[in-house]
């Protein structure tokens, strides 16, 4: 298999392109900057995906049966409801929330010193669904008949907009990633074009002494691909260190969930080779344009 030209080792070909100067710095710095941003775009995308998944999974598969407070006969009604739930396909588990669980549920709003005994609170039965869940309409009809006032609520009303928001978050993360990739491609392409324009004399001399277009292209592609990869490598490393040093206590607020964990740390490692491929393609295209316009 033929080796890509940027991997071929032709030290003289690489040497005809200046190793330092404005265009070299332009390629390295622009690659590093966009790679740094790409690391955060990946982190944002993954965080958005995680958040969306959490919203969906934490709400899906759970339901509540609510029984209005009554003076008497509640225990019988609860037993009836539990029995009905037990017989209903699509119901996994069901258990009545005790006073402690109800107090914990209300604590965020009313504090921990809430005197539950003095309040007429509805009875709540927490249900987990299995498979596609129960036939909600049929179950509610049965509950209406056997335990009047009891309502089966699978949180569909307020889960739907959250699920929609989660979907939008995912799209936002993906769009951010695509935009950053696009910016990286354009930046590297512009840097390659600027570099070729700035090295017009080098190209003229090479053509004068009989260099074929392929040789000239290889010289520039080799240099710029390696520069872009090196710049992107540095930018990626700095981005990953920045993510690592991000305050770990940010469990809430704008930084909540923004970070990488486990195998997610492998994703940024894709950036340097991607930048190299972009530089390879961009430099080849720019060289073809520049050489095509030469006599």
């Amino acid at each position: 298999m033929r080796r890509p030209s940027f991997l071929s080792t032709d030290p003289t070909a690489a040497r005809v392109v200046p190793a330092t100067g404005f265009t070299a710095a332009l390629t390295i710095v622009s690659s590093a900057a966009t790679a740094f941003l790409a690391v955060f775009a990946i982190a944002l995308s993954l965080a958005a995906g995680d958040l969306a998944t959490r919203w969906e999974t934490e709400l899906a598969g759970t339901a509540t049966v609510r029984l209005p407070a009554a003076d008497e006969g509640q225990d019988v009604q609860v037993a009836t409801i539990l029995e009905a739930l037990k017989q209903t396909p699509g119901i996994g588990t069901a258990h009545r929330l005790d006073d402690g669980e109800q107090a914990a549920l209300l604590a965020p709003w009313f504090g921990t010193d809430l005197p539950l005994d003095s309040l007429r609170l509805p009875i709540l039965i927490e249900v987990t669904e299995i498979g596609d869940g129960p036939d909600v309409e049929g179950l509610n009809l049965r509950l209406e008949a056997e335990a009047p006032g009891a309502v089966y609520d699978n949180h569909g009303r307020w889960r739907a907009p959250l699920a929609e928001a989660a979907g939008w978050l995912r799209k936002l993360g993906t769009v951010s990633l695509i935009l950053i990739a696009g910016v990286m491609a354009v930046t590297i392409a512009l840097a390659a074009s600027a570099a070729l324009a700035a090295n017009g004399q080098v190209i003229d001399v090479l053509r004068l002494v009989g260099a074929r277009d392929a040789w000239i292209t290889r010289a520039f592609v080799q240099r710029f691909t390696l520069r872009a990869a090196a710049g992107a490598g540095a930018g990626t490393l700095i981005g990953m260190i920045a993510l690592l040093l991000m305050p770990g206590g940010a469990e809430t607020g704008i930084l909540a969930g923004l970070g990488l964990s486990g195998v997610e740390w492998l994703w940024p490692l894709v950036i340097p080779p991607a930048a190299a491929l972009l530089a390879y393609a961009a430099t080849r295209a720019a060289a073809a344009r520049r050489l095509g316009s030469a006599p």
Binding site: Q201, G210, R212
Partner: protein, 225 residues
């Protein structure tokens, strides 16, 4: 062999050559003269394939250069050494690397090229400047470096555009001497110059002819120098 047949070239809105024809045999030595703007540089650029005529045919070393593709032009340029008036180099490479460049792009190994390089640099008197960079060279040294680069592949044709334009008389004689030596090796030399003293100096040492560009045509100067 260099042949121009009914060549038309327009430049800057005017016709520079209008049906020019000429033929230079292999191994000949020609000086090209004419007033400024007569087209000496344009003619050399046509032969070195840096410029295509609007019409007509240019043949160099039995190749119709108008029919060559880009790789073919590159291949032909390795058989034609060019010394420009404003010698262009790759400034961040050393003199030795610049002189070796035609061999490098032709795929010769560094060892093969280096075997001739030291001798070549010594021949043009740049043995001590091999590790310097082109911006460090004087005008005469740049011209000699350009000449060394032009001949490292032992081309069949050497084109020189005012090679003594920026140098003193002693250096002019030295460059002329190099061109004469190349001609004695069988190379075809076409040297554009307005320096009549240089042409007279060549008279006693080599059989050379003078072509004069005038009114868009080339004519023999009428005398063998």
């Amino acid at each position: 062999m260099i042949e121009l047949d009914d060549v038309v070239v327009g430049y800057g809105g005017r016709t520079l050559f209008d049906g020019m024809s000429m033929s230079l045999p292999q191994g000949s030595f020609h000086f090209l003269t004419g007033p400024s703007g007569a087209g000496k540089t344009t003619l050399l650029r046509m032969v070195s394939m840096e410029l295509r005529p609007s019409s007509g045919r240019v043949r160099v070393l039995d190749e119709d250069v108008g029919r060559l593709d880009r790789d073919g032009i590159a291949r032909m340029r390795r058989r034609i050494g060019v010394v420009h008036q404003d010698s262009r180099f790759i400034d961040h490479m050393t003199v030795a690397e610049n002189v070796r460049l035609p061999a490098t792009v032709a795929g010769q190994s560094e060892a093969t090229a280096d075997a001739h390089l030291a001798e070549l640099l010594g021949w043009v008197g740049l043995g001590d400047q091999a590790a310097q960079h082109p911006p460090e060279l004087s005008g005469g040294e740049r011209q000699r470096a350009a000449l060394a680069r032009a001949v490292i592949l032992s081309p069949d044709v050497v084109l020189a555009d005012e090679p003594t334009g920026n140098v003193d008389w002693d250096m002019s004689l030295r460059i002329l001497d190099l061109l004469i030596q190349l001609n004695r090796l069988g190379k075809t030399i076409l040297c554009a110059t307005h320096d009549l003293n240089l042409i007279r100096q060549a008279k006693s040492r080599v059989t050379s002819r003078v072509l004069r560009l005038k009114g868009g045509r080339v004519e023999q100067a009428g005398i063998d120098l």
